[in-house]
């Protein structure tokens, strides 16, 4: 499979009152065409900022300070705002975590779908009436694609008239309107109930197969990743700490953080056995020294860990940022 997105040494910083925060620190990642990459991490791990950076959506006081973002052969960091705007929505689309705040409450769903088509779709006919009819037809088609019943009437309704699951579907419909090559879904189901979550995730998987699109699924739920992603990337405190094929990473994690996360998930099978939570909490990102960021919480830490640890080879297609990864094999 050919590479669609390749990010190298990405760094995004925010100037906060307490000092400089490097929210994304030297992230490398690669997404192949048609693939689904899961990005896992807790709050503050930098998973959302990484992909806002890819989309060129980081605003002051934040800025991308280093790295390259090659998408389909072009470095997005070299593009002008106009060129970037042309790519956003057409080639790469992103759905936001909270559908209610991401949608415009003052516009109907049909108007919001039309906005994307007008901005990006060059195949629309030129004549005003024909154009309007084409937009309408495409909008109905998109709402149908994401499984919204009676799309004709639903187009005239406002976001507040839809349930949470339906709003998430609408955002996906808007994101998919121009058939992007890459869909970045930021916690698409976090706000939803499990029965609705299952519907939305299956929808994304189904559309991915039909349109041959690549998907980045940002989530804190390892279960979601296990069921829907080919590869997974685990982030901690602004860095990637482990990546590899989903089954292998979850089946046999090679970074103590990944292992800790998996051991933290309560499940019926573990009844009566104590959970082994990761002790302590995520470090403050201000003024972090260049050393393993997990060492203060790591059960395997030793003095040698107080150095900057690079991503190390952990088997075919797998890497982990840990000096002791061999011992975990």
């Amino acid at each position: 499979m050919s590479v669609l997105l390749e990010v190298t040494n990405l760094q995004t910083e925010f100037t906060a009152r307490a000092g400089l925060v490097r929210a994304v620190d030297g992230v490398n990642l690669r997404v192949s065409r048609g693939e689904c990459l899961g990005v896992v991490g807790e709050s503050g791990s930098g998973k959302s900022v990484t992909f806002s950076s890819v989309m060129g959506l980081v605003r002051a006081p934040g800025r991308v300070t280093q790295g390259s973002i090659f998408f389909d052969g072009r470095n997005l960091r070299d593009l002008s705002p106009e060129e970037m705007r042309a790519i956003r929505g057409r080639d790469i689309a992103m759905t936001m975590q909270d559908a209610l705040t991401a949608l415009n409450p003052a516009l109907t769903v049909g108007e919001q779908l039309a906005e994307v088509l007008v901005a990006h779709d060059e195949t629309l006919p030129a004549g005003r009436l024909a154009r309007r009819a084409a937009i309408r037809e495409r909008s109905v088609e998109m709402l149908g694609l994401v499984g919204i019943p009676s799309p004709d009437t639903r187009l005239r309704q406002y976001p507040h008239e839809f349930s949470g699951g339906m709003r998430q579907r609408i955002m996906i419909a808007i994101a998919l309107a121009c058939r992007p090559k890459l869909l970045i879904a930021d916690e698409p189901t976090t706000a939803l109930d499990v029965t609705i979550q299952a519907q939305v995730l299956e929808l994304i998987t189904d559309i991915r197969a039909r349109l041959g699109m690549a998907v980045v699924l940002i989530t804190h739920d390892l279960g979601v990743v296990a069921e829907h992603c080919d590869r997974v990337m685990v982030m901690y405190a602004g860095q990637v700490v482990e990546e590899g094929p989903t089954g292998q990473v979850i089946g046999q994690p090679r970074h103590p953080y990944t292992r800790g996360l998996l051991a933290s998930i309560p499940r019926p099978a573990l009844r009566g056995q104590p959970l082994t939570p990761i002790r302590g909490q995520v470090p403050d990102l201000v003024g972090l020294p260049p050393q393993c960021r997990f060492h203060s919480r790591c059960p395997l830490a030793r003095p040698e860990c107080l150095v900057e640890v690079p991503m190390l080879d952990a088997g075919p297609g797998r890497r982990a940022r840990c000096l002791r990864l061999e011992e975990m094999a």
Binding site: T195, Q197, E227, H228, G260, I265, R267, P268, P277
Partner: protein
Amino acid sequence: MTLLQVDGLTKQYEGRRSLAQRLTGTRQSVVRAVNDVSLRVERGEVLGLIGESGCGKTTLGRAILRLHEPTAGRVVFDGTDVTALAPPDLKAMRRRMQIIFQDPYASLNPRRTVAEIVGLPLALHGIATGEEAREITARVLERVGLRANQLDRYPHQFSGGQRQRIGIARALVSNPEFIVCDEPVSALDVSIQAQIIALLLELKRELGLTYLFISHDISVIGYLADRVAVMYLGEIVETGPVAEVLDNPRHPYTQSLLSAVPEVGPRRDRARVRLQGDLPSPLNPPKGCKFHTRCPLAIPLCQTRAPENRVVGPGHVAACYRLDENLSLLDAAR
């Protein structure tokens, strides 16, 4: 021994009648958030209450404590009818029945120090004041994994997990026997969530507590509950020992709920029962069995008359007409 017995508990909220409704004499709209719920909690056990948002599980928890006044029904706690208590007696009873809230940010007063927040129940119930109260508060704080020198800090100086520990300390300080845990770990990151769950189980063991543990997360309930009750649109549709209900769910709603949970770890050959559509509006709930609009097994009878509870195993009951057919629902999906 039964510590808490709930009989036919109902909580309804009445909407305001609009002018048009008043002129035409239309009845005001009524949301029955909790509808005729009966359950019991044994001393020393954890009863898990599962359901999706809007099913009424939080309202039920609060109605049991009379934080929301129930519309009908009875709550008997250790032989006393809580629903019949006059205010002073209710206050005394609350010393024994406490609650931990979901949102560790919204449930702590930002303008009070930890000592004030955690110590308030001591003053309210006349347990201790002054130095003595401070000592007790410090002891409880240490018990939940915070430090006594953090007594004079404010909530914003703590992380989400630490705040939830403060909430737990507040619930514990009056030495209760029963605690309603209302989604106490839902707002937390996975690694912190595990810390809080471990703490809650430890406290239960040491202090002999009884929990009503409300959650939408089946994995959490499956891990820590002894028995489980499944709620849908204000009603309990299935109850039983946790292993029974999780391994052998009998109500079609429980079956679909369980099969929707994404799982880490060895992929079982899992059956999928997918629900169509959304939760119906509680303002206008379906007649008959409330689940019939989304149920893959619904028959005409389900639309007209609500099914009664039927015993399907030891301590395991479910309210469904099609209990015999749905044994094969999961098999069919496999």
